[in-house]
Subunit: 562 residues, 2 copies
């Protein structure tokens, strides 16, 4: 166990690494300094001119990284994504990474960044995990400017006859702040606004985040913003941003946030980190603009979806791919021995002990995700993210099982070894992409009814039996039909911990029913969210928030961040 | 009148101008690319290393630009500040401008930026007026992270025994949003926080903005943040950021915001635009770090105070100068014929007509401010910011009056002509600085009681007779004595429109009494705010907000911003 105690923290490894000037990184992918808008020496946005210039280039191959249902044991999906990019680079391939940008709220709440780990990190991790290039601040500002304009509309005569009880646009902060979940605003008399119930979401839950991530360009961004439904009027008809006439102002506030951010890994592989919507009430992938830009600049793009394959990959394939006109050439499903043992019934405190029986039981969860990806017609490779406590027998058992299931598998040790630890995975992917036929197809058609879309996902992706729609949900579907929203894809808001809607059901639950209690239309983003169970859109802080350890020295260097 | 209709808008002039790369601008003041953290091609922050490097250099001369009491006619103080910098440059002097950065709220509310006007502007005006380098977003985030940490402390057992009715720390948004002035938060049951009254200020009213602007370096910033009082406990003792143990996290969030931003004027004069606290409940000047940096990099630094000389200049001299250990070599008092006529009783709609009688009556306002600056022992020059509607006789009358008063005066036409229109003013300043003795001294001592400080300002700066303290204010002074806060300077929160506390009393009111209804301790910033009348810390939006005209074209260019 001695090795464990010697392990360096992510921030120590990051701060000991030497970054190259971002201009140099850009040159590796054919971009000049003039194509960049620098944010310091190591971060840059791609200019609109650069994005226009590369538009007509041929597209590289996209590889999607997803995982089994997450457990408290940790799977390391982002770490594998980063390490895999470095592995491709080590193999002499022109590779790029396209990832989500982190939210500040969780950073200050519970220790843990979102920029990979160990020797598979994107840099500068302190900046990326704090304000980065200000994208989330721009989204927060646009979100709250819209809210202020709605309340001002009420105050100034309410020409659109907005029903103040039916305003669905909430305010946002990029923080964990439970006291803002339910609030009453507009108190203090007639000069201080119209009193009404309101609430704050964390910024990544704002529809504007989803809109920014699905927009193809600035024109599409403005169009999507104008379609966002903010309230209903006294006839219960939707009132949109376009009705308020402020889509131009919102787009202006987002004109720089919509440009993807270029950074590098510890091993200097270029990475675009851009956009980060929730994977429950939104689609959980980095921006379309970044993924497409990466595919124009590199031959291999490694990107990821949020949570496990049942949420992140399903949404990547049904929502993002469809909207952007892209398709992944292969999907990596990340698993760890530890997490599989938890899916097999082991408690977190018992994970250090070898347990072949539990591991074998846990395979069922991995199996379902492999089946799902295959049902989309895409080749799949399993990545076992190795931990120091995994025993040889456990590893052998898993490898044997994969062989039996006829699925390619690779051990990865990217946390410890960087790209070198992902070479095997990269090589397996290259083989699979070359050999296997990619016959990507969605599991449902947009012309299917909303009910049918939900049922398809529940049965074919979750392995469930049935879907129950609450009476409220049924009533909403009739309204949506009337508003012309039925052709939109569905975005499932479900617990990430289980294939079912019960977070306690690990492994591969069977014969379960999913209850859709309500729909939430995200017309700007272009999907209908189906809410199953409670979805937390504003996290709280723990008893001892990570903020208590955060500091900065006299020279401005971040301390205690991770 | 034909000339008026042909006049270009500020944004047209700005977008027709050609900026030089900021690296080139930096070289003019002895900085290399390595000293900068670039934000695109035309904006940069000075690095901590650069700030450390220039620390020991000799200081240039600081010139403070202030004005008569503002009127709806407009005085153009920022425009004169910018044009004066350009004029010094045209005269072959090494000059820099140090100004406040604008708040987004007013930009989206009422048409009008804060980056000068006409041919005397700082660029890129679209960026500076929108997100700029993210300083205000970082301040908003730090402000709201602190609020979330306070509410989380209540939720998690309230170890410090904070009285939830006596939490004085408010939340913030950088927007005009009247519906957030008075709110109730923490609703929804025991898992959603502790219900309590709260409110939002606009970001520039956050004490963190004042703290950032008065901090000398990152160490001083952390110290000031830790001193901020956020609440009182059940024994009515102050609870500070230091008690919560989160000054490190707040400083970390501000580690880049504390670095000054370098931009350029239309004529390529270097300008530091950094920090922008309110001039009523705060001190209304750009950051100490920026002003001192500019004084190390240039021989002449043109800077400004907020509102008129009774607020902005008084606070610059009593709060900022004292705290930073700087002194201005001369003060410019900006006036316009139009505004002086309003002080003489003319309505705005009648301003185009010549009115010598009203103009002469209006001189009284200018006279008081000249007297005040002289009483601080600093040379003063009057700048008449010329408008096209000023008649020759009006101009002559004003010039004659200045001669009679024995105060140097210069006409400026910087809006129309840029630096060339400020040459006369610059030359007068050079003469005054060379000839006149600068015997700068504050009007009160820090050891004076708070009451005495207020009375001194009211009598010597406002020309009032008396001060009445409410019973609440008197009670507070006893508490402050007990908490050891009596040695802090006073920051007056008074209407900017009048020397008195009645905005309708223009010109030079006499024999008036000022009522201090309450004090607000800003212990982190290091001053005690004296509130006279209502002070608006969260503006509202007008019936037709400027946001309705804001837009962006398909190439990402701002439209309809001003």
């Amino acid at each position: 166990m001695e090795a464990i105690t010697k392990v360096k923290s992510d921030i120590e490894i990051a701060q000991e690494s030497t970054m190259k000037p971002i201009v140099e990184i850009a040159r590796k992918i054919g971009l000049e300094e003039n194509d960049l808008e620098l944010y310091g020496k190591y971060k840059a946005k791609l200019s609109n001119e650069a994005l226009a210039k590369i538009k007509t280039k041929e597209s590289g191959k996209i590889i999607l990284v997803t995982s089994i249902n997450p457990t408290p044991a940790g799977e390391g999906k982002s770490t594998v994504t980063v390490g895999l990019g470095d592995a491709f680079t080590q193999l002499g391939k022109k590779a790029m990474i396209a990832m989500r940008e982190p939210s500040l709220g969780p950073t200050m709440g519970i220790k843990g960044g979102a920029t990979g780990g160990g020797y598979a990190q994107v840099l500068p991790m302190e900046d990326i995990n704090l304000h980065f290039t200000g994208d989330l601040h721009a989204i927060t500002t646009a979100n709250n400017a819209l809210a202020a304009l709605i309340d001002n509309h009420l105050q100034q005569g309410n020409e659109l006859r907005i029903d103040q009880r039916r305003i669905v646009w909430k305010r946002a902060v990029d923080l964990n702040d439970r006291a803002l979940r339910k609030v009453i605003i507009g108190l203090g008399g007639p000069l201080q606004g119209v009193p009404r119930e309101d609430g704050f979401d964390i910024t990544v839950a704002s529809e504007i985040m989803a809109v920014l991530c699905l927009a193809k360009d600035i024109k599409d961004l403005k169009l999507r913003l104008s379609r966002m439904v903010v309230a209903y009027n006294d006839k219960k008809e939707p009132v949109t941003v376009g009705d308020l006439g402020v889509e131009g102002a919102l787009t202006l506030l987002l004109k720089d946030a919509v440009k993807p951010n270029l950074v590098q890994t510890i091993e200097h592989t270029p990475a675009l980190i851009h956009g980060g919507p929730f994977a429950n009430i939104a689609h959980g992938c980095n921006s379309v603009i970044a993924t497409i830009a990466a595919s124009k600049l590199a031959d291999y793009v490694i990107t990821e979806g949020g949570f496990g394959a049942d949420l992140g990959a399903e949404k990547f394939l049904h929502i993002k791919s469809r909207s952007a006109g892209i398709k992944p050439e292969a999907v990596v499903v990340v698993a760890t021995i530890r997490a599989l043992k938890m899916h097999g019934g082991v408690q977190k405190s018992e994970l250090v002990k070898e347990n072949i029986a539990a591991l074998t039981l846990g395979f069922a969860n991995l199996q379902k995700h492999i089946e799902t990806i295959k049902s989309f017609g895409i080749p799949v490779v399993v990545a076992i993210n190795k931990f120091i406590t995994d025993t040889d027998l456990e590893v052998k058992t898993l490898l044997d099982w994969c062989k039996l299931e006829d699925v390619p598998v690779a051990l990865t040790e990217v946390w410890e070894k960087g790209g070198e630890g992902g070479i095997e995975l990269a090589e397996k992917l290259l083989t699979v992409i070359e050999k296997e036929q990619n016959q990507f197809h969605p599991l449902y058609e947009l012309s299917d009814s909303i009910e049918k879309k939900v049922i398809t996902i529940v049965q074919q992706v979750y392995g469930g039996k049935n879907v129950e729609f609450s009476s409220k949900a049924k009533k909403q579907l009739l309204e949506f039909e009337q508003f012309g929203w039925s052709n939109l894809p569905v975005c499932m808001a479900k617990t990430q911990y289980s294939l079912s809607d019960d977070p306690a059901k690990l492994g591969r639950p069977m014969d379960f029913t999913i209850t859709v209690r309500e729909f939430k239309p995200s017309i700007g983003a272009g999907f209908i969210v189906a809410l199953t169970g409670d979805v937390m859109t504003m996290p709280g802080l723990p008893k001892k928030p990570a903020a208590l350890k955060m500091d900065v020295d006299e020279n401005g260097n971040a301390l205690g961040l991770f």
